[in-house]
Each structure stands twice: as structure tokens, then as C-alpha cells.
Symmetry: D2
Subunit: 147 residues, 4 copies
């Protein structure tokens, strides 16, 4: 189902990057926006020992935080100027422990809609320089149209 | 489907509380374990501006972090001595913005199994002293039996 | 989170029952609408050997068919006159084999919204006259407003 | 995440096809097993008016029935001789109405495990001879090992 998309807002990139900058949580956790294309977003979270569970790996909540954020911005690239994006729901399957140096989330829009957008997000870990699948997310987004 | 459960491990409470203490992320974010019963767990996260999204509310990733953690410990109360708990998957529906002073997650075991446990987690916000529904989660846990 | 709801359409019951009658699949499978209240719906599916999987129990697809239908009508009771209801997504956790004489789905609205409604559906089996939990569903519905 | 997999059971294909034949529901609904490879399964369901909802399209329950079945057999190809496959949970996002002549589900294993297997299933509709995305599913399977 990979696709190419035509943004409705010519200023989509600046709008998305500005939105990302306004999220205090991204600075707090250290989330980086590393790629942004129409219908696609990659974010990274370098390892931090203070964000781990009892085995020393990233907590599953960090997996879903990074994935939800990446999915939201993948969808937001295709939304109109003046809109806001909200997550309606998401579901994560955790396939391997989030072990390694950097967590990477790559989000793709599967279905952009006027009101609802569906994304798929692949989450992997760079572990010893090798990238390994870690989790997968399906997400629904809501586009709050400009008033 | 509310139920009462008989723990298999007489020392369930000390085991669960010790496990909770070993999670660095809980200290980092400020997650508190506020109730623990066989098959039930409540956790709270007091508001922090540095964990918010662009509108100043808790980020959806914090909702799933608190809910996943509470669900995991609800299930862990019923697991045998020497076991470990892992989240297999979870799904969150975000019903209202996570706005207010304290986020509360209440997790109940729906089905405890030898290998897999299913939980349901209700997430609410204390907002102006009034508690409001915020989100709901369905979660599957894996019990790693003692070697 | 159990609640009482005030329907927006005084004719909600007739509208919902008429909608149910227009679904060919319900007649084909034998689905019965056994309770309908504002924000609540119960449906039943008597056992049929030709709807089973390889072990002689109801197929998981039948669990989700019954649950999705019940959830849809629970939500539809609260929607305005002239609207249509569509499922956006649903997630099912299968807790026990769907073994027995009758499958029962009880759906409750957790959050009714102008556009999106969230429901929770409990699915059980009457087995030897005793009712046993079988599965649980979280579902999002879309309200297509009248033109 | 596309991958190639090495089946553990040299007789995987005959085992899976025999399992598929033992499901009464597939004959009842008209589900066809149209491709089977290690870690992959395609199933098809030709349109039938008696399996539709009120708008004359396939009911969402049929989407999940076909997708769950395809996912189950994709996972079963990689399970050992003598094992049984059970669905633990699945989540479906319905992206477009299931309108057309044939519904197609293509299921891929993302993560095969000794106990748990994760699959992703794409569901499309052949409509006027053109294939269109319809829905997507994430699913967890349980492998019941031989006694």
C-alpha cells in the first residue's frame, strides 16, 4: 500500500515543523524529527537510562509516545492550512524488547481523509549499529478543520 | 465482568511493589502507585508542563505510558513468584483531552491466564477537582515463567 | 464508567430497529436484537455448526461480527435523526473459545460525540446454561450526519 | 519489514491446507484460499448480497472474518508439525466501504515466535476490476504446541 501524496497546504513543511517545536514533551524526552515528506514522518529517540523499565530497555510507553508522535505528523503533512491534528486511537504490538542506542519510528499515511486519517508506524531499534524491528502501530487521526 | 481473584503468590504485594520501584521511568516522570489489589492497580501522574503536547495537555504518549504500566502491574499481582511481566500489545481510545491536575489509570484483569492475561484500563483526569473520563485501554500481557 | 444517556432523536428506537432490519447479513447468520436502550444494545447469535472453525466453536470472525453490530447500534441510539452509523475501527481480545449454545454481545457507549463515538462490547457464551466471558471489544464509530 | 521465512515443518503446506478444509465457516461463506507461502497467505471472498449491511456492501464483520482467517494461516505456515493456531486479538481499521465483486485479504507474518506470532493483513476490494484498499489489520496469534 505505499503511495505518494499531494499536500493540500503548499506550506505543509513549515507548518508541521513549527507544530513539532511547540510540543514541550519532545524536548523533555529528546525526540528528534529526522525526516518529513508528504504522508511520511521519521522520528528518533536516543537511548536514555532514565526512560527505561526494570530490564534497562525503553519502556513500552516510550515506544508508543514516539510512534504516536511520528504518526500524527505523517498525517498532519496532508492536512489543510490552519488545521489541528489529534490522535483518536492507536494500537501497538510490541515484537521485541526496545533494546539499543536509538529508537526509530517511521510513519506512513495509509488513508488520508477529510476528517479521519489512518497511519501505520514501524518502530525499530538501532542496536550495536544494526537496525531491528521492535514494534508496529496502527493509528487513527482526527483533523480539526480551521474555524 | 468485575471479579475477585486469588493470587498464586502469597508474597504478591511485596513482589509487585519491588518491581515498580525498579523502573527508572516511573521516577523520571513522577508516576505513583496508589492502589494495588489482586487483579487491580491504580497509578497516578501529577501534571507536569514539560510532558505536554502543543495545547498544554498531557501528551497521548503519557496516557499510554501510565495505562500500560498500571495494566502490567494489575496482571502481575496474579502471576507466580519468580515470573516477569511483559506487554504484548495495547490499544488506547482517547476520548477527551488529558487536561487537569492529575492523570489516574485504573487497571483491572479481565482474564488471567498461565501465559496470557487480558486487562482493561480506564484513564481519567482530575480537572478542577472533578474526575473526568479521558481514555480507555485494552491490553495483553505475557507471563515469563520462572526458569 | 457506566452512564445514562439522553437520546437526541425522540424516535431513536424505531430508527434503530428499522436499520437493523435492513441488514441482510443478520438474517443470513441468525443475529437477533434482544435489547436496545439509549447507549446500550444486546444482540444474540444462536449456535450454528456451519459458522464454526476447525474445533467446532464459533469462528472469531463471528465474534467480531456480532460485537461490531451490537456496538454500532448502541452508538446509533444516540445519533440524530437522519444520520448513518459507520464503524471506523475495532479491536477484539479473544479470552476463551466461543463454545456453547448462544453467543451474546452487550455493547455500551463510553463516549458519544458529534462525529465519533467510542463503545465497549462484552461478548459471552451461554454454555450448558451458564454464561461465560468470551471476548471484549473497543470500537470507534463515525456518525454520518444528515445532508 | 517484508521478509522471507524458513518453515520449521517440511510438511507445512499440506498441514495448512488440511486445516483450512476443516473449517465449516469457510464453505458456508465461500472463502477461498488462493495463495499460501511461508509467512504469507491470501484469501478471497466473492461478493454475496446476503452478507451485506444496510448499504449493500460487505459487512465489517466479513472483513474481519476474512482477514483473521488469512492472518491465522499466514502464521500457521511457520508453526511446527502437530501445533494448533489460535487468534489472541486483532484490530481492524476500516478505510473504505467494502464495495465490489471480490474481497481479498493478504496476510504477512511480521514476527514469528515460539508462542506468539504477529501478522499484518491488508484487505482490498476488486471493484469494477480495479483493486482498492479497504482495511488493515494487526493480529496476534498463539501457537498451541503439540502435547
Amino acid at each position: 500500500m505505499p503511495k505518494t501524496f499531494e499536500p493540500r497546504d503548499p506550506d505543509w513543511e513549515a507548518r508541521c515543523r513549527a507544530g513539532f517545536e511547540r510540543q514541550p514533551i519532545c524536548k523533555t524526552l529528546g525526540i528528534e524529527l529526522t525526516r518529513l515528506e508528504p504522508g511520511f514522518c521519521e522520528m528518533r529517540l536516543p537511548f536514555r537510562a532514565d526512560l527505561t523499565q526494570q530490564h534497562g530497555f525503553f519502556h513500552a510507553g516510550m515506544v508508543s509516545t514516539l510512534a504516536d508522535n511520528a504518526g500524527g505528523y505523517a498525517g498532519y503533512t496532508l492536512m489543510p492550512a490552519g488545521s489541528e491534528v489529534l490522535a483518536v486511537e492507536f494500537k501497538v504490538n510490541l515484537m521485541s524488547p526496545a533494546k539499543g542506542e536509538v529508537m526509530i519510528a517511521r510513519a506512513r499515511v495509509l488513508k488520508p481523509g477529510r476528517t479521519l486519517t489512518v497511519t501505520s508506524v514501524e518502530i525499530s531499534m538501532l542496536d550495536g549499529g544494526v537496525e531491528k524491528d521492535c514494534a508496529i502501530m496502527q493509528q487513527t487521526l482526527f483533523c480539526q478543520a480551521p474555524a
